[in-house]
């Protein structure tokens, strides 16, 4: 028996309570049904014992004394009294002290109605204040960032926000200033609380001191309706509550899912809701005629598309996008394209991901397995920019549990400080570096970092206890090099597991459903044949199709007649926007299916309005393969429809029947055709205890269906009451009460060598050149993508792309003080600000991708070799 399993017994108010060593008294008492009042205590933060609200009597050598229940851990035989006169007097005293200087402006406070201070005052507090003195005054409120307001008069100095910022986010941008009665939260002058995680502080603030700008004066808690859902702004799959008022989303709140987000949300996820009610929403189908936009009805639009399809060869039909859709939508579109039309040229990735075979055919790790691995190898760029909550989980594991990290990257990342060893490579040389890790000679001009230490680190652990996180770090280079490097890692470390670093909403679900060339639903390969599919599908593509880049390239040759763009803003998001622009102009029928107008919709022949997040039910799949539900809270906007329905109806116009009338039907078929999903019944998915999702295949899932605990009982009531009110209404995929039995999975797969599935990298390679810099283009959280730009408050956070260059490069360009530089490459020229980054190898320039601005993407075309740019100071 390990220490943590050992049980011990204590008595709380005369009642015997079981607990485990290390557990805090406040938590042990809570499990026994004794709720000790508290403000500063939060189970996900280190205890500080400062508010003193949880004082209870604990028996010690000198008899019963008052102790903070949040700060002392239980011991065997401990005797605790929480309801004595003395304990109550102390707690009442603390509450009165907290209220002494509190402004009591509840009627105009966003927290009013869901405020722990208000609640506990009503429950335990005095009816009348004995404080007749002048209260403390501060200017109120002050914006400490574009997203968060601070009202210092309401603050009770509980240290929750500052602990979150310093310990969890690792960005101590807010701190206490002053001393004693003047102690207050502050930011440094001209250094706002510009954290990707700032919204969490407002969620955990036990008073109305921190409130968020987008929610300010929007609603009252008692007017809110809510549903649980999964965030799809990236692929981590954070569990959250969607709250609405009068058919408008007003707020998202993080849910404490132990397996995934452990309470937290990133700001992009939290504040992305503003895009749902954006003015850019598409109200109805329309044609783009030479004369301009012509609104039309669904039937005319679908009829036109069906006609175009009828005259097109299967291979000339293609689809790009779909990674934002629900699993059910994806399956419907995969069935329509692969199983009815017969084309395999469909790709949910926009040439910014990895070969889907790596994701589909490797052994997959959960986030928990990654954080508990003996060694975590990161080959995924900067996770903070791409999968922010995964970054928090890994950072915490490194800080608190000593998780060992080997980082392989092109430049420093947000996790470099936590890494045991960081290795850097010159663009194009990832595979060589990984070969070097396993003993091959390496040419030192292409690498930096302590390779010896890395080798020692890798050989010091059981390969089967290694987890590799992989993603595409450089948009300006072929994906082949990092793919081969990742495959080599996974092949060489026998038994190691892969955690996908693919970031687009449901891209991992899209791969699982076969919305990529060469794969079919259930992580199967097209060429392997599939009896279950043949039974349900009319046809199967004859050969492996094209990926996004290949589709566009063949369009240039006139080989594509009909292209579906499903939630794919190619002009903004496709790294080679020039290619996209030329290709779209060369396709007779481009069908845009989207909820928001974007730069690409104007290139479409016909545009169909899709429902947005929270306007539809369904399920989504995260980086782990965790399937979780999407909640519906709003009526769909205008004439918009869910994408699965569009697929079904389009099929009908083509004279085909996809066989679905509901999400239920779709999920039922998924289970029949996909061994991966077999056993994952809708009933199980909808069970109250399965709300944080279930990892497929089920044999890989360690998730038990058990009721989730209430993490922070004084938190905003929305989070707890969802648990009480049950799952969302059963109109679609999500049933009411069902039998949440998970049947045994029969999913199994012969693991092959991943490297053998990939093409050889026989491109001509070149090393550093003095005046011809290798270009690295990386993604960042707040890019100019449509999701960010259509959310009012997030759009204000977007700043111009910057570049980074090694100190030597900086000198060679002759930069001095100002870094304004002209970059020339691929026949284009772009000006941006460069800064020095000592972590970059000489001869490399790293530039942040700028999405819809489309400047950076002009600089490269990546067909054959690493992109190069020349630079001169402006």
């Amino acid at each position: 028996m390990t220490d943590s399993e050992k049980k011990l017994k204590l008595t709380v108010n005369g009642k015997e309570v079981e607990s485990a060593p290390g557990e805090m008294l406040i938590a042990a008492a809570e499990k026994a049904g004794v709720l000790i009042p508290r403000f500063c205590y939060h189970p996900r933060l280190e205890p500080v014992g400062v508010c003193r609200m949880c004082l209870v009597e604990v028996k010690g050598p000198r008899g019963f004394t008052l102790q903070p229940a949040c700060y002392i851990s239980v011991s065997d035989g401990m005797e605790v009294v929480t309801d004595s006169e003395k304990a109550k007097k102390a707690q009442d005293g603390v509450l009165e002290f907290l209220l002494a200087n509190h402004p009591l402006d509840c009627p105009v406070c966003d927290k009013g109605g869901e405020c722990p201070l208000q609640d506990q005052t009503l429950t335990f507090g005095p009816s009348e204040s004995r404080f007749v003195e002048e209260k403390r005054h501060f200017e109120k409120p002050i914006a400490i960032s574009k997203l968060v307001y601070l009202d210092r008069e309401r603050c009770i100095q509980c240290d929750r926000c500052t602990r979150f910022a310093a310990d969890i986010a690792g960005e101590a941008l807010i701190d206490f200033e002053g001393r004693g009665g003047a102690l207050h939260i502050t930011t440094f002058p001209d250094k706002p609380f510009a954290s990707y995680f700032s919204g969490n502080t407002a969620q955990i603030c036990p008073v109305g001191a921190l409130t968020t700008t987008p929610y300010r004066f929007k609603a009252r808690p008692w007017d809110l309706e809510q549903v649980e859902s999964t965030c799809v702004s990236c692929a981590v799959g954070c569990q959250m509550v969607v709250q609405s008022s009068e058919n408008e989303i007003v707020r998202y709140l993080g849910i404490d899912s132990e397996a995934v987000n452990q309470s937290w949300l990133c700001d992009k996820g939290r504040f992305g809701f503003e895009s749902v009610s954006s003015a850019e929403r598409i109200p109805s189908p329309y044609f783009n005629e030479p004369s301009g936009m012509v609104e039309t009805g669904w039937s005319q639009a679908l009829d036109a598309i069906a006609k175009a399809l009828k005259s097109a060869e299967p291979e000339s039909v293609a689809l790009i996008g779909g990674s934002h859709m629900a699993n059910e939508d994806i399956y419907a579109w995969v069935k329509l394209t692969k199983g009815v039309i017969g084309t395999d040229s469909i790709d949910a990735q926009l040439d910014d991901g990895l070969d889907p075979k790596i994701v589909a055919l490797s052994d997959r790790a959960t986030i928990q397995e990654a954080t508990q691995a003996k060694l975590l190898i990161l080959m995924a760029g900067d996770l903070r920019e791409e999968l922010p909550i995964l970054y928090l989980r890994i950072r915490s594991a490194a800080k608190k549990a000593g998780l060992k990290i080997l980082e392989i990257s092109l430049s420093e990342t947000s996790l470099s400080n936590e890494a045991e060893v960081s290795l850097r490579y010159f663009p194009g040389y990832a595979e060589e570096l990984v070969n070097g890790l396993f003993g091959a000679e390496v040419d030192p001009q292409f690498f930096a970092g302590d390779l010896q230490a890395a080798r020692a680190l890798v050989s010091s652990v059981d390969p089967a206890s290694v987890v590799v996180v992989g993603a595409r770090e450089n948009l300006a280079d072929s994906s082949l090099d990092p793919e081969r490097a990742i495959a080599k890692l996974l092949d060489s470390l026998v038994g190691s597991k892969f955690l996908s670093g693919l970031r687009r909403g449901n891209v991992n679900g899209a791969i699982d459903m076969g919305m990529v060339p060469g794969l079919v639903p259930g992580r199967g390969q097209l060429q392997d044949g599939n009896e279950a599919l043949k039974a349900k599908w009319k046809t199967l593509p004859r050969k492996v199709g094209r990926n996004s880049r290949e589709i566009l390239e063949s369009a240039l040759r006139g080989e594509i007649k009909v292209l579906f763009l499903v939630g794919a803003d190619l002009i903004s998001d496709f790294s080679d926007s020039a290619l996209a622009e030329k290709a779209l102009g060369n396709i007779p029928m481009v069908v845009g299916i989207d909820s928001l107008s974007n730069r690409t919709t104007s290139y479409c022949s016909v545009v169909l309005p899709a429902t947005a997040f929270a306007e539809r039910h369904g399920s989504t799949t995260n980086i782990e393969g965790r399937v979780s539900t999407l909640g519906k809270k709003l009526v769909g906007f205008s004439l918009s429809r869910p994408e699965w329905m569009i697929a079904v109806e389009l099929a009908a116009y083509m004279g085909e029947d996809l066989g679905f009338e509901s999400l239920h039907d779709i999920w039922g078929e998924i289970q029949e055709v996909s061994q991966l999903h077999r056993g994952l019944s809708i009933a199980a998915l909808g069970a109250p205890g399965a709300k944080e999702g279930i990892v497929v295949p089920l044999s890989a899932s360690k998730v038990q269906i058990s009721n989730r605990r209430v993490l922070d009982p004084i938190a905003t009531p929305g989070i707890t009451s969802v648990g009480v009110s049950g799952p969302p209404s059963s109109s679609a995929a999500i049933p009411g009460e069902g039998d949440p039995v998970l049947s045994e999975s029969t999913y199994s797969r012969q693991r092959s060598k991943l490297l053998e599935l990939l093409a050889h990298d026989d491109r001509a390679k070149a090393g550093p050149e003095a005046d011809n810099f290798a270009l690295v283009v990386s993604k960042r959280l707040y890019d100019h993508g449509v999701e960010v730009m259509s959310a009012k408050h997030l759009s204000e956070l977007v700043v111009p792309s910057k570049g980074r260059v090694s100190p030597k490069g900086w000198e060679r360009i002759g930069l001095n003080g100002s870094g304004l530089t002209r970059l020339q490459g691929n026949g284009a020229s772009v000006e941006l600000e460069l800064v020095v980054d000592p972590s970059l190898l000489d001869g490399v320039v790293k530039v942040e991708f700028d999405g819809a601005l489309g400047e950076v993407s002009k600089l490269f075309g990546v067909e054959n070799s690493t992109s190069r740019v020349k630079m001169e100071k402006v």
């Binding site: 014992g49 400062v50 508010c51 003193r52 609200m53 004082l55 004394t65 008052l66 903070p68 700060y71 002392i72 003395k86 007097k89 102390a90 009442d92 005293g93 603390v94 009165e96 002290f97 907290l98 002494a100 200087n101 004995r130 404080f131 003195e133 002048e134 009770i156 100095q157 206490f176 002053g178 001393r179 004693g180 009665g181 003047a182 102690l183």
Partner: protein, 434 residues
Amino acid sequence: MPLPPLKIVSARANDPKNVTLDGYLANGGYQGLKKAVLEMNPEDVRDQVMQASLLGRGGAGFEAGRKWSMLKKSDIRYLVINGDESEPATFKDHMLVESDPHQLVEGALIAGYAIGAARVFIFLRGEFALGFERVQNAINEAYDYGAIGRDIFGSKFSIDLVLHPGAGAYICGEETSLLESLEGKRGFPRIKPPYFPAVIGLYGKPTIVNNVETVANLPWIVKNGSSSFTDLGAGRSRGTRMFALSGQVNRPGTYELEMAKNTFRDIIFDPEFGGGLRPGRSLKAIIPGGVSAPWLGPDQLDVVLGQDEVAAVGSMLGSGSIIVMDDSTCMVRAAWRISKFFARESCGQCTPCREGGSWIEKVMNRIESGAGREEDLDLLMDLCDNIVPGVSWPPQQTTICVLGPSIPSSVAVSIKMFRDEYLTHIKEGGCPYD
């Protein structure tokens, strides 16, 4: 009449040359350290100190030898000298660092040797600018002299000593907040348990925090042996003690007296010491041991100045300060000023002290300035009770550290002793002493 005093820590205080190495050596300096590192094992030094019954001179009066023995085993442990003397009317360390800086350095090094400290830090109150210059100079000289650094005095013992300036915060005299401050943070006290410095101290390592006067005794104890030290004093209170006498007395100053051999009457009225009150004045109250301590009245003048003796009458010897208040002083004003001090110096970390301290100060201020209400006295006592349950002595507390229970002390004790004076303020709508 007391015996002519034998001085230990202030013996050289009046010799201006003593602040330099030459002067200190001429006065027999560094013999204790030499003896320790060249002739004694660390455990022998610890035994000597244990046998000397050297009570900590910072305020709590915990036996130094026992404190050292509680140090958790660890390859790295630190010694920090607490020179952040900020307790109102306490100025004996101030005198010691300015007049005998080498004694402090020598004492710190002996303690460092005894506990095997990896490094010694002297945390000196920031406002002691002259003291800082003198101690820094002494450290420079001691390095050159071979008393600090590698293989000191040719022994195999090496140690470094760093003088660290405070920056003005009373709370940093509390040992855990001193450590926080030394780590570069605001001086928020840590919660005990688990943060007992001897277990989890500076940088999380076991750490001994000793007061300036405590370690200033070490050169003498090592040089003369613990029995010479225990020849002085009585009971648990051995050796001598620095007393800082201030207030309405003719000869305020620091006086080194043998422990437990003199009374409050002696130190206040003896012509060698306080020299009595101003003509025509009579004693109204004494605040012993720092402003956290309950006050004593004229009827307690014959209490002996020993650790247990003062504790026995419900107060404490504390930091060794003695504030004398005569009958010209308004007790409400005195208590208000003390409450103002605590309100200003509360660190703000925990609620009862941050909010309670400033609330109490505001009520006290209102009473003193004539806007008091009779119910304010009950309110004050209840607020005190919410910081110190039962308003007991020695106090319990709802706060993290002992600054909290210091707040009610003067307020509650002055209401108890001088309730009529409060009522006069309330009835007359002002201070009768104005």
